[in-house]
Every structure is written in C-alpha cells, then in structure tokens.
C-alpha cells in the first residue's frame, strides 16, 4: 500500500475537520494540533445518512480520539471508526500521516472491523 498525497497541512483546520475527495471517496480529515496527529475517516455519517462527519467536533472520550456527528451527536472513534454508542455501527478509517508538510493517506482498502455491520457509504 502506498501513501497518497492529499493536501498541504495548511489546508487542514486545527482541532477541527475538513473534507477531501480522494480516489472518488469523501474523506474527513481531522488535525489535533497539540498531538500533531491526523486522522482520516469516511465523511458519511451512517446514522444521520449524510456526508457530514468532517463538520463534527473532535475530542476524546476516556482517551479515545473521537468525532461527534454534527447531526445526532454519536461519537465515532477516529482510530477504529467504531461508534461508541452502538458498536455495530462502524465508519471506514484510513491510515494518514503528515510527511514533509503534506498530508498523506492510504485509501485503497479502508480498514474495517471484521464482522461488523457496514452501512453502505455513498460516494
């Protein structure tokens, strides 16, 4: 799997999210500035059924980095994509990193927790 260049770090919003179009997929990119950590998950909210996760608030619940859906406020782990309120619901997550001032990610095969119910994400 190769790292794919997406955008400059300057395009990200500190402690907030933006959405990028990567390989035809809508990807929500979050930047936690204190940890210099970046996270990439699919932008589709499987509960609210709309492409909005990039506009959710981020933070942590018991140490787990999360995004809260701006529609109905469920929390999704930024590391695993699992919904904290309903573990059966998972959003795809993608490996992402900052490299030479650029955001890079791997997009071909979204990481999925095995056996979980997967809402069909819209492109």
């Amino acid at each position: 799997m190769s790292w794919q260049d997406v955008c400059s770090v300057d395009d990200l919003q500190p402690d907030s999210g933006v959405c990028a179009l990567v390989g035809g997929q809508q990807v929500a990119l979050f930047f936690m500035i204190k940890d210099q950590a970046v996270y990439a998950v699919h932008n589709y909210d499987p509960i609210g059924k709309a492409n909005v996760l990039s506009r959710g608030m981020i933070g942590d619940i018991k140490g787990e980095p999360v995004v809260a859906s701006p529609l109905y406020k469920q929390h999704f782990s930024l590391r695993t994509g699992v919904c904290l309120e309903d573990e059966q619901v998972v959003v795809p997550v993608y490996p992402a990193r900052i490299h030479n001032g650029r955001l890079e990610m791997q997009v071909a095969e979204p990481t999925l927790i095995k056996g979980s119910r997967q809402e069909e994400a819209s492109v």
């Binding site: 500190p14 990028a20 179009l21 809508q26 609210g48 608030m57 933070g59 619940i61």
Partner: protein, 845 residues
Amino acid sequence: MSTKKSLVVIGNGMVGQHFLASLVASQVKDSYHITTFCEEPRTAYDRVHLSAFFSGKTAADLALADDGFFTDNGITLHLGDKAASIDRNSKTVTSAKGVTIAYDTLVLATGSYPFVPPVPGHDRPNCLVYRTIEDLEAIASAAKTSKVGVVVGGGLLGLEAAKALTDLGLETHVVEFAPRLMAVQLDEAGGAMLRRKVEALGLQVHTGKNTTLITDGGQCVNKMCFADGEELETDIVLFSAGIRPRDDIARACGLDVGSRGGIVIDNQCKTSDPAIYAIGECALWNGMIYGLVAPGYTMARTVVADLAGSYASFTGADMSTKLKLMGVDVASIGDAHAKSQGSLVYTYQNGASEIYKRLVVSQDKKQLLGAVLVGEVSGYGTLLQYCLNGIELPENPDSLILPPRSDESVGLGPDALPLTAQICSCYDVTKGAICQAIEAGCSSISALKAETKACTGCGGCGALLKSVLDCELTKRGIEVNTDICEHFPYTRQDLYNLVVVEQIKTFDDLLDKHGKGRGCDICKPAIGSILASYWNEYVLAKEHLGLQDTNDTFLANMQKDGTYSVVPRITGGEINPDMLIALGQVGKKYKLYTKITGGQRVDLFGARVDQLPHIWKELIDAGFESGHAYGKSLRTVKSCVGSTWCRYGIDDSVGLAIELENRYKGLRSPHKLKFAVSGCTRECAEAQGKDVGVIATESGWNLYVCGNGGMKPRHADLFATGLDKATLIRYIDRFLIFYVRTAARLQRTSVWMENMEGGLDYLKAVVIDDKLGLCGQLEQQMQHVINTYQCEWKSTIEDENKLKRFRHFINSDQPDDNVVFVEERGQIRPADEEERKHFKIMEVA
C-alpha cells in the same frame, strides 16, 4: 344509545373547578354527562391570590382552567347563569335564565358570600366587599376618587384587603371588633406583634371597635361611628368580616342546613339527600365551615372517590396557615390558643427583631399541638410535620423556637419524617410519593415538580422538598455529579468563574490549567459560549473555531441532509418591501426552500456549504445582518403591531422590540433566548411564553421572565410592573448577565430559575434590590457585549482565509453529490431514501 348518567355541578369557583379537574382525571368521567352552572361571567379563578390583580395580574392570569378545558372534556358550561332552584322530586335544576337540567347526581359548590354586618348605612356609596374580580374592579374604580379607606375586619382576608387598599395609594385603616388582629389564628402577644409590624408599614389599626353607624362624612364620603363614641372619616368602607355559606338553594329545596348556616354533610360529603353532595365553603361538616381552599379541595377529591365506588372520607382538615401579610410573615399551626386539656406553652419573644414564637405541647411534652409564628416563620415546615405526624418532640421542645446558639441544627431531618408525611399541602404530596418519584429516576427539583406537582402551588415547601431529595439521593448512594464532563471537574458556573477570575481567554489555556485530555463536544461548546459571553471575541477566530458546533462554525443551521438554512435578522419582525423583495430574490436565485418562522423571520433552506458566503454577500449588500439562529444566543424579539396601528395598543411594542433586539443581538448564552413585546394586555406577541416578555400597560411596561414554549412549555412569571423604559432595560441587562453567569450548560431560563434556591423571589432580590451588590458589574458586562457586537457574517465574508472553509472539498470544487432535492408544492425538499436510489439509477443510466 348513551347509557351515561347526568352529573350537575352548581358553582364554578375554586372548589367546583378542582372537583371537575379531579373528575375528568378519573375513570368516573366516562359514566357521566357533566354540566356546570357558573354564576360569575368568567370561569373559576384563583381567589387566594386575588390581590395580585392590583399588582398587574389580569383576570386571565388568575384563571384556573385552560381555554379548552370545558370543551375538551365534554363539559356543558352555563356561564353567567345562576342555578336558581332544585326540584328533588323530579331531580332537576333550573337556572335563572330558565335552563332545566335533569340530574342523577348533583354537587353543590356554591361557596360563600362576604358577611356584611347589618350596621345602618352599610349599603351607602363606596361600601364594598372583597370577593370577586367584579368587587375588585369596583374597589379600583372607587379608589380613583378616594383618599382614605377602611377595612372592617382584621382577619386574614381583612389584612389582604388592606394591602390592596394600600397598593392603591389610600391611607388605610383596619377596624376590628376583637381585641387583636387575626384573632382566630393568633394569641394576644402574637396579634400585638403583628399589629406593631403592620403599623410600622403605615397601616392604622383600631381593635375592640364596634361599628354602630355609617353616615355622611365631612371631608370624606362616609363617616363611621363606633360604640365607644369615636368616629372615623373614610371614603371607602370595605367589609371583610368573615364569610357565610351560600346555602339558600339547598335551604329552599329542603336539605338539612345548620342553625347558623351551611349545608350539612357526612364524611362522604353527602347531604341529607343521598343524590346530592356539597363541597367547599357552603358545606357544614361536624359543625364546621372551612374557609380555606385546601379542605375544599379535599372534599372535592372525596366526592370523586365516592363516585368511583372507592372508599374515601372527609374527616376534617388541618387549618394551619403560613402567609405573608403586608410583607409580614405569619404562621399558625393546630391548637394555637392552647385550648387542649393540660397543654403547656413555650413562648419566645424578641422585641428588637420583632419576632414572636409560641409552642403549644401536650402535658407530657412529647407531642406538638400547636404553634404561632410572627416575623420569622422558617421553622413552619418542621413544626407542621411534628404536629401533623405526631413525631415525638426533642427533650427540650423550646429548642425548636429558640434561635440556634451554636452550629447544632435543631431542624427535623427529612429522614425522621414518616412516608405518610405531607410535604406539599397544596397538592397533597406525601414524602412517600416523592420517594417513589426519586426511585423512578427523578433527581432534580424540577423533575420532582413535573412528576409529583409538589411545590408548584404556593411554593412554601421548596426547602423541605430539596432536603428530602438530597437526603434520599444520599441514602441511595447517588452522588450527584455536577461535573460538566470528564475533562473538567467543574460545573458550567465554576468554569465561568475561572474564566473571569483568572482572565482566561482561550479553551487551551483553561484546559491546561484546570482540565485534562483534549476536550469533547460537551465542554468545548460550553466553554466557547462562556468565552464569547465574557470576552465577546469573533467566534471563528483561530483559537475559538474548534469550540463551535457545526452551526456556529458555518454560521447557519445544519439540516438532515447536511445542507444549511439561513435566517437573516429581521428585528421585531419589521421588514420593508424592498428588503422582502431582496430576500425573495436570493431565495429564487439559489433555489432555496422558503418558510416563515415562528419568530417572525424568513428561513431559507437547502443552501450548500459553498453557497453560504455568496448568499450572505447578497444579503449583506441588501442591508441584512446575521440572525444568530445558529447560536445559543438571542434569537428574536417578537412583537405585535402595537399602538402605532392597533386600535387597542397602549404603547409602541414594535419600537421597543427593535430596540431590545438590537441591544442584545449576538449575546451568547447557556441556551437560546427568545423575547417578545406586546403593546397591550391582549398579548398578541405571546410574551408570557418567552424568556423575557414585556407587555405595555397604562402605567408602564410589565416585565415577565423565564417562560418558554417547546417540549415543556412554561408560563413566564411576572417580575416587575409599571416600569419606564430605562428601568426595564436595566432589569433585563442584569437578568440576562446573571443567567449567563450562573446557569448550567444548556439550561433555559425557566429551569435555571426553578432550580435556584429561593426561586423568583431570590431572582427579584438580586436583580431589583441588588441583594448581592452585583448589579453594577452585571450592567457593565452587558455594556461590554453591546460595545463589541459584530455581525459575524460581515466579518467572515471580509476575510479570505475564513472563506476557505466554505467548500465541501478542500481539494475539489465539486459539490456533495449525496445532496438531492425533489420538488414539492412548488419548492425543493430533500429527497427521501427511495427517491435518492431512483435518482442515482437515472443518473447512471
């Protein structure tokens, strides 16, 4: 075919209405066609708080039944029609207007009439009584041309009436036949203390006076002559010398009545005719007429239970009372006069502080039989519980009335109360019922109020209710965690204080100093709001951006499909045709769904993130500014058209609404705020359903606070009356900032006030009387917010950097292809899932 029986209720006063309300809440109602006769031109109202009529409440405020009560419950109401006679043979009631109704069961709730002593001249001009709203209107009208008023009767109602005359600006006297005030409830020393206190407030008291004649006055309309030869000139004579049961209709049809009046009833409230009940002040039980509302309510519930076939009986009522008379606290419990055999008395008198307390206990000093409290009544709840529940007294009963000399608490812990103890006497709520509600999950005062109705009547049991709640929660091992979230071990109010005291300007700074972790969607917006309330910096500044909910981030309201709605400010709901056209043009150009909101504005739906700045550019060019519909902040100030156009308008409600909206726009608060201004008491702007409501009256603006609509509507409370505009604005400034400073996260003003210890009175003390010495600060802070107001949309479209965010993708100009609209009634709406699939197939094909 109907098999329902006919139930007729004569009288729609407080007790008659309570009977109807209890009846329709029970199963019994399905068995009856219900008819009620109401002699007065309006349905039941709160006679207990009648004097509130003079401090700004209207007849509608005092009404007990909701508008739809009678029609919704299928009750036939004959308003303004007095039941004139009963034919017990044919079982019919005939009214003054000639309506005849057959009954299977008849309930008499005819109430009482004021007793007017048969003194010669008692029917002279300006000789009035105090019972109905019509009486009050007559008093108010007579007062306009009067200087002096005399109340005949120094009892409970007499002093209440005296307050009304004082409020109307009259030189007020009270004339009492007995040697002291409140002779029924108070002993001599208590009566004397009360007298000193009301005299200090300007009331002139004459006791031991027997009026023999009322005749022409010299300086005044009337002159009263007394048996001792003295005379008193007065314009108004107001009789409040007790009540008499209205039993004439019962007498005429041969029911048993007492020798001194009153319809005789048994323990089931049945009269001598088993098909007829009598309840309230017209009924005579065991030789007693009960002139209080609570025993009447108990009788009403007894009848409903009896009709339902369940066993219930009325066995007398506690006549204990606690009230504020002309600002003086007075309470009387049980056998206040120590008439019980062998009873012992403890007395505490503090002349300096004008406090008088008396305990009456049993011979063995184990049981409390009665008490009198004047000037300081905080022990009332505890003493009443001792008395009603027969709880054994402490070794030295006088410790209950002596001021505490050390830290020891002599109050009765809520744990000592039996489950049968009545906590709320207005709604007859026992400790057991409260514990049950706590068991079922109620963990706050407001939840208990909603569930049990406790403390929603006179509110006197508030402190006791709180102590029962705290005690029960502790017993259940429930620690009430008030931390805002896992990142900050503080309440919102704590965080607010930290920001102020340490002058903290950013979330990161607060987190570093007082929190842990990275924050979350609970603490971030709460702190974002606190910072905005206090510093009022641009909410999309780099250090604040991540704290905002999506609505604040994009300065618009996210809808279910991820698009946004746009609501420009239309102050006071006033908009000129050009602006309206401009709105229409924007809606048309961007193909937005357009709807009028409840707050007198226009909402434009279906805007994509990338369209928002373009839409706002055009709106700002047309003269609009942000409406803050996206924020926890002031939304709208709704108004009626007011005196400018309306035939009935008293003042310019639109002008004031615009001024208020411009003053408070942009203020970030713990929750959204809605205001309204009505130009007269017809209240077309529905101000009494708002956080802040203002109503014009002849004597100035009346201010209402802490109302709301929504899931749990709450009628606002009257806060101050007859205000000029400058005072009104000062009160609102203080009220709002005090709310911003002390409310919990997402707590609306109603819940905030209900959970505040001391409630409305405390809030008034802080805002009107400046009890905390804070008002200067509160006003100053509001002025800062006003001075630093900015239109957030204007700031945003002027900043290239900020505009970068308003794209769906950072790396593409494509819009979100999941947003699909279909047409309905000539406008767009989001496609549902089925329609969306269909649309996609069409696209692929």
